[in-house]
């Protein structure tokens, strides 16, 4: 990371800490905002957060590595999380999963080389009556069929706009 970028991030984290309070109880909200904005929490960010909250970097890492929605490794711009728990399983999540893998060319737990999509399993999403369910970032899709996998991914691509779509097809 460039020094100027580091400084910017540092300023940003300081502002976050100022907003949420300089106590350990602010750790989760601060990490969540960083996660949302950057799709991952970098080594550097973790150390700045630790410094600002007066805790050790290892403790921040311990927290980040505990929660399924916080990541240290970079994740895709779109994180697709398919529910793997029982009701969605009974409703046929396995075929949706397979098709998502086919569409993206990656396996669960991986990120596309262009950094756009990550595919992950999730535990029960609370949409059990309308499974199979999946989350794309904070948007929920229900009663997903294998057939619809392609459409969901296209919807994400269109968010990027024409330019990005071209790049993706290139």
């Amino acid at each position: 990371m460039l020094v100027s970028q580091q400084q910017k991030l540092q300023e940003e984290i300081r502002a976050l800490v100022a907003r949420h309070g300089r106590t350990r109880a602010a750790l989760m909200p601060v990490l969540q905002e960083l996660q949302e904005k950057y799709a991952s929490i970098t080594d550097f960010a973790m150390q700045v957060v630790a410094d600002e909250l007066g805790i050790h970097p290892s403790e921040v890492y311990g927290v980040v590595s505990f929660y399924a929605f916080l990541h240290h490794e970079p994740k895709g711009r779109f994180q697709i999380r398919l529910c793997q728990t029982i009701s969605c399983d009974l409703a046929g999540k396995a075929r949706v999963a397979k098709q998502l893998e086919n569409e993206l060319g990656i396996a669960f737990g991986e990120t596309t080389p262009d950094g756009r999509f990550s595919l992950e399993w999730a535990s029960c999403l609370g949409m059990c009556d309308q499974g199979p369910a999946l989350l794309v970032n904070d948007r929920v899709y229900t009663r997903v069929t294998a057939e619809q996998a392609h459409r969901i991914i296209e919807e994400c691509r269109s968010v990027f706009g024409a330019h990005a779509t071209q790049a993706a097809h290139a």
Binding site: D43, H56, Y61, G62, F66
Partner: protein, 644 residues
């Protein structure tokens, strides 16, 4: 004259689940805190104060409940679950170590359910435990192994891993991590965060992927670790151990061209007996001398000698700083910090690099001795320093890092070649077929055979301060310390409180400055009527408190001199000392040390004739002079906290 520094509020960063639990009860019951409650354990009644845990209550009546995650130095965790017991009226078993007694209870400690649970827990731990006892550093001194024996484990009920799951981390000079043997008791985590405030180790990941690791799983040498080894001392298994260099030492002994000398520090001598089944606090100083000669060491020296040398150098430095500040009005960093604990030094370099000027530039006794051996001793004995191998028996794992610091070779040769811990040397002695306690006594070798009690007490927290005061007070006031303190025991700086603060008014000063240090400080007049303010801290969590107080301009910022020891209890509680450790064990070792001090003929560093001889023959420009600076002093590195 002694003032208590309040430990301040609880700065523990452990998750609240792992902190000592507040006793919580409705207000009317709260009145009873301090009151006594009768509980029945396995049919026996015992009266305990409210808030006592079931484990403590059981121990009081001699009922043994097994533990793994519990440690007397650490806050409650309640994670291993081996200590579960049946509490009447409760649906589930309760962890005895974490269950505070707030009302009368009936407890059963070995019912079928309890025994089955304990056996299952052991079976589960062993199912993921990769390692064989006979190739393990903790063979015969492992809590998991003893419990397996106690509970009659004779097969692996739930299988057993047959392949290593984690690569060993051997990056550190001091601590080796072998996570294949880790049982996730988190004693190391609580040690490193709560006792030492370093925070190197933490639980990472979750579910059955949980592991004890460092920031980003980096090797230990690549993160902030002060090498104190306190985590090793509290690890119940062989998952953590010191980086053992005894093979290299044997090799040197076996090599006829090498002149191998060993210096022994007082703390290991007070502790090593424990490795041979002696009670804690059994000093074996002179038996050890015999054993070491039998092992093949060419000379056996006493680190006390260089401890006395350290006192002269560090004391002179302090007087020099006072003179510069008070008389010459030149800038001088106060308080002066001691520098003999390498764990503490690295702590400061990482966390408070802006205070490096406050650190005494004097090397630790270990390093001073090494430097003197490879120069003065080599010269006077006509041995080529390249043929000398210096070994140090230390209670400390950080000494291993210290002797490998590149700056520790002022003579052109590494001051100290190998640092051995108490445990490692005990191992070598056993390997030589020697039962240490049975050895006849013998003395130390000349020319450093003269030793004082001041050097001995370096081993306990407050000891460096006491030794320095014995010398400084006597020189400055011109009166015998015995006149000021009975038997020259400066009791106010002793004890185990985390931070201790003492004020010593100087009412009279000597007319003349001793010749040895006159080049640094021509007169004591300016100290008349002054009050020396001193503090002592041990365990780096306490060092943290002191430095925060200094930063905030608190009372400790007015101190002139502060002694810091990285390890709780000082060197007697060092990371290289026999395992287990506990407040009682450390107190017993401290008693042994103070007893050795009382038995010494000479008890003040400046009265050590060998030290005097060294200055007159070798360091002729005196303490803090040119040659001393080259060989006996060092510099530090601002390391900071950032992990690249």
């Amino acid at each position: 004259m002694s003032g208590e520094v309040k430990a301040g509020q609880d700065t523990s960063r452990a998750p609240s689940s792992q902190r000592i639990q507040q006793v919580a009860a409705p207000p009317d019951v709260l009145q009873m805190i301090g009151g006594q409650i009768t509980v029945t354990i396995d049919g026996t009644d015992v009266k305990v104060p409210m808030g006592t845990t079931v484990l403590e209550a059981a121990r009081q009546i001699g009922i043994r409940i097994p533990t793994l995650c519990h440690h007397p130095d650490l806050c409650v965790a309640g994670v291993c679950r081996i200590c579960v017991v049946e509490v009447e009226g409760q649906r589930t078993l309760q962890a005895a170590c974490a269950y505070p007694i707030t009302g009368s209870l009936k407890v059963k400690t070995h019912t079928r359910k309890v025994r089955q649970a304990r056996r299952h827990i052991l079976d589960l731990l062993l199912s993921t435990h990769y390692g064989e006892c006979y190739s393990c550093k903790r063979n015969n001194n492992c809590e998991l192994q003893s419990l397996a024996k106690e509970y009659g484990v004779d097969f692996y009920r739930f299988g057993h891993v047959t392949e290593s799951q984690y690569p060993k981390d051997e990056s550190s000079y001091s601590v080796i991590r072998d996570m294949d043997k880790c049982i996730l008791c988190r004693r190391c985590v609580r040690t490193c965060i709560d006792v030492q405030e370093v925070g190197t180790l933490e639980a990472v990941g979750r579910s059955n992927r949980t592991r004890i690791s460092t920031f980003l799983d980096k090797p230990l040498a690549g993160v902030v670790c002060i090498n104190c080894g306190q985590c090793i001392n509290r690890c119940p298994t062989g998952a953590l151990h010191a980086n053992d260099t005894s093979d290299e030492v044997w090799r040197a002994i076996d090599d006829p061209t090498k002149h191998v000398v060993i210096q022994t520090a007082p703390s290991p001598r007070a502790g090593i007996g424990e490795c041979f089944g002696c009670e804690p606090g059994t000093p074996l100083t002179f038996q050890l001398n015999t054993a070491l000669r039998l092992c093949g060491f060419d000379k056996v020296f006493d680190t006390n000698f260089s401890a006395d040398l350290t006192i002269i150098e560090e004391g002179t430095e302090l007087l020099g700083r006072l003179y510069r500040a008070l008389v010459k009005q030149e800038p001088a960093a106060f308080p002066q910090f001691t520098s003999c604990s390498p764990g503490w030094v690295k702590y400061l370099e990482h966390f408070y690099p802006e205070y490096i000027p406050n650190l005494s530039s004097a090397k630790s006794p270990q390093q001073m001795f090494g430097a003197v051996i490879k120069t003065y001793y080599a010269k006077t004995h006509n041995i080529d320093p390249k043929d000398i191998v210096t070994v140090a028996l230390m209670p400390c794992s950080a000494k291993k890092f210290e002797c490998n610091r590149p700056e520790m070779a002022g003579s052109g040769f590494k001051d100290v070649d190998y640092g051995l811990t108490t445990r490692e040397l005990a191992q070598m002695i056993m390997e030589a077929g020697i039962h240490l306690p049975d050895m006849p006594k013998s003395g130390f070798d000349d020319p450093f055979g003269d030793r004082t009690g001041s050097g001995v007490i370096f081993g306990a927290t407050g000891g460096v301060m006491e030794a320095a005061l014995r010398t400084v007070l006597e020189l400055v006031t011109g009166r015998k310390v015995e006149k000021l303190f009975e038997h020259a025991n400066i009791v106010p700086v002793r004890g185990f409180d985390g931070v201790r603060y003492v004020e010593l008014p100087i009412t009279q000063v000597a007319d003349e400055v001793p010749a040895l240090i006159r080049h640094v400080i021509p007169t004591f007049e300016f100290l008349k009527g002054a009050t020396l303010k001193l503090a002592v801290a041990h365990g780096t969590a306490n060092a943290h408190k002191v430095l925060e107080d200094i930063k905030a301009g608190g009372k400790l910022s007015e101190c002139h001199f502060i002694e810091f020891m990285a390890c709780p209890g000082g060197c007697i509680g060092g990371g290289g000392q026999p395992i287990p450790t506990s407040p009682e064990i450390r107190a017993a070792r401290a008693r042994a040390i103070y007893a050795e001090d009382m038995e010494s003929d000479v008890r003040k560093s400046h009265e050590n004739p060998a030290v005097a001889r060294l200055y007159s023959e070798f360091f002729t420009d005196g303490p803090c002079g040119h040659l001393a600076h080259e060989l006996l002093h060092t510099h530090y590195t601002a390391r900071g906290k950032h992990i690249g």
